[in-house]
Every structure is written in C-alpha cells, then in structure tokens.
Amino acid sequence: MHCQAPNSQDPTHQARKLDALDRRLVDSYQRGLPVCTRPFHTIAERLGSSEDEVISRLERLQDMGVLSRVGPVFDHARAGASLLAAVAVPEAERDAFAELINAAPGVNHNYAREHDFNLWFVMTAPDEPELEARLDALEALLGVPILRLPMLEGYHIDLSFPIPWAELERA
C-alpha cells in the first residue's frame, strides 16, 4: 500500500527547498542542542550565522514539517508511567476504534499496523495506578482485551539518522 497525507508533500520535494545551512542545522542538532543561556546564539556562533537567522530557519523547518519540534525529548519511563498497548479489531471498524482510543486520556501515539493486533498505541499517565485505571477504562469502553506490553528493559534508543540528502536531491 502506498498513500500520502493529503496535505503533506513529497519528501524529496521538501529536501530540495533546504539549503546548506538548513541541512547543517538538521544534521548537527538532531542529537542535541546546547542547553545554555542563549542556545540559538551559541548555535549561530558555531555555524557562522546570526541568532535571528538560526531562529527563523528553525521556524521555517518546523512550518515545513521537516522538524516536528525543537525541544526536549523526554524519557517516558522516567517522566511518568507509560506502556505500549495493542488491540485486535475488525479491519472494517478499525478507524472507529482508533477514534475512541485517540480520545482517551493519556494516549499519545496510535499506529495502524499489519497484524491481527492492528492498532498499536502508547498509554501514558502520571503514575502506575492511574495508568492501570486508564487502561481498564479504555478496555471497558472498547469491549476488546488490551494487550499490555510495558518495557521491561531498554537496550538502546537512538532517534537520529544520517539524512540521505544526496539521494533525496537526485530522486
């Protein structure tokens, strides 16, 4: 299956609109920006640019959707309680179930996946008892069992990637 969001643009098209400074900002700061008094000023000094320029570039990259945000990435496990959950629902009713799940308090991701368990979401709460309560309430609402898959051990998390600029350019 291949489909695109109606309002999203082809990734290759997006990449062509980014110049060298944009690309350096994405490449260099996806792993972390300086947490200091004037972070954008510090970045500007490193890149030989100005604070205003860095800020307006970041705003534009965010508006284009190339950056989903500029800010802290929290460790869910340490900043509250959360777990990965899944339900198996009839494919024809999947979107209706998804709406119920998305509207439930604490749900912050929801992906359709190709499996009998076809809806996968992350449930969050301030603490463990509230997490259980939210899952129990949602289970009652949905009328199907929720597969509860808390993290028992985390081996590694790296959300940075080499961006294939040249390849996007050629496409």
Binding site: L61, R69, V70, G71, F74, R113
Partner: protein, 199 residues
Amino acid sequence: MSVSTCPSRPAPRREAVEAAVPTPDAGGLDAADRAIVLATQAGLPLVPDPWGAVGREVGMSGAEVLERMQAMQESGVIRRVAAVPNHYRLGYVANGMTVWDVDDAQIDRLGREVAAIEGVSHCYRRPRHLPHWPYNLFAMLHGRSREEVERQAAVLRERLGEACRDHRILYSTRILKKTGLRLAGSRPSDASKDTQRRG
C-alpha cells in the same frame, strides 16, 4: 508555527501537575519540574531567550527553568534537547516494528547486540502474553523502503541465530495519532492535526 505565537495553546493543567507529584515512578520530578515538562513537551518557543519565555508561562525565572532543564537532562528524564526531525519528511518512509521470540536466558546480551545494529532506533524487552503474543524483544527499524527494512531485519535474524524461535515485521500503514509526551493527559484536537498516512 512556534509555540510562543500559538493562540490556541492551552495553559498547563495545574491540577494534573498537582496530582502527579512525586512518586517513585516519576523520576523524582517535583511540581515545578512537571510544570516545565508540560510547558515544553510540544516544543520550545523559538525566541532568543526560550527559558525566560517558558519561565513567564510557569511562574519562575528563566535561570531556574534552565537549571531545572539541565538537572532533568543529568538525571535522564530529558534524553536530549534537540531539533527533532520528522523522518518521514526526510525520506525514511518505511517503519517496521520487528518483534522476536528470543530465549529468555540470552535476551539481555542479544538485546544489546541488536540495539547496536544500524537502522534500529528503539530496542526493548517486553512481556510475552501466551498464546496470542509470544514475542519478548522489540526492535524498531527505519528505512527508506520496505526492502531496506527487510535487509535490516535479516541482519537481526542472523545475529539472534538459534536463540530466536519466531519473528514478525509489523509495518505501520497509518499514523492515527502522534504527539510528544503528554504528561497530564491528551489533547483530543491533536488527533486530527497529526493524522498522517504512511506508505
């Protein structure tokens, strides 16, 4: 749109912050930390002094916000403060959640090995739920095509060897909701905004 100029951005939910104070599960965050988490989880205001702007929202000085951000980073509550790319927009259009049924006696060693393989972003051990769910190791793979994800999965399969009884790749076909951490609850309006189809 930057956070600071978004008129519809709801104020932090103080009552939820109060309710969340501090439990052993909460990484030792106090109410002020939680207010900062709530005010920054959707992104920092893109202004010269973002800490001061956050401080005005939560009622503390910029210096205190910065100090608490640094402390949360130190303790691991904040993994990093970063320009977070939308990888889909940057060509990583295939996302496969691979799940593996791995010998419990070897899973910690193998989990660490698998986590180091290129293309793996998250790698976790999770409980089995027999008979419906025999898989105890999860590795998220990201590639520019399904073929690339298949190649990455083949590398994982080889590394796991005899210790692996079965595995599946669950491709995402659609993002129905994607938001950052929502400490105090969900914002239903995010669902429609963030709905996105995947190939």
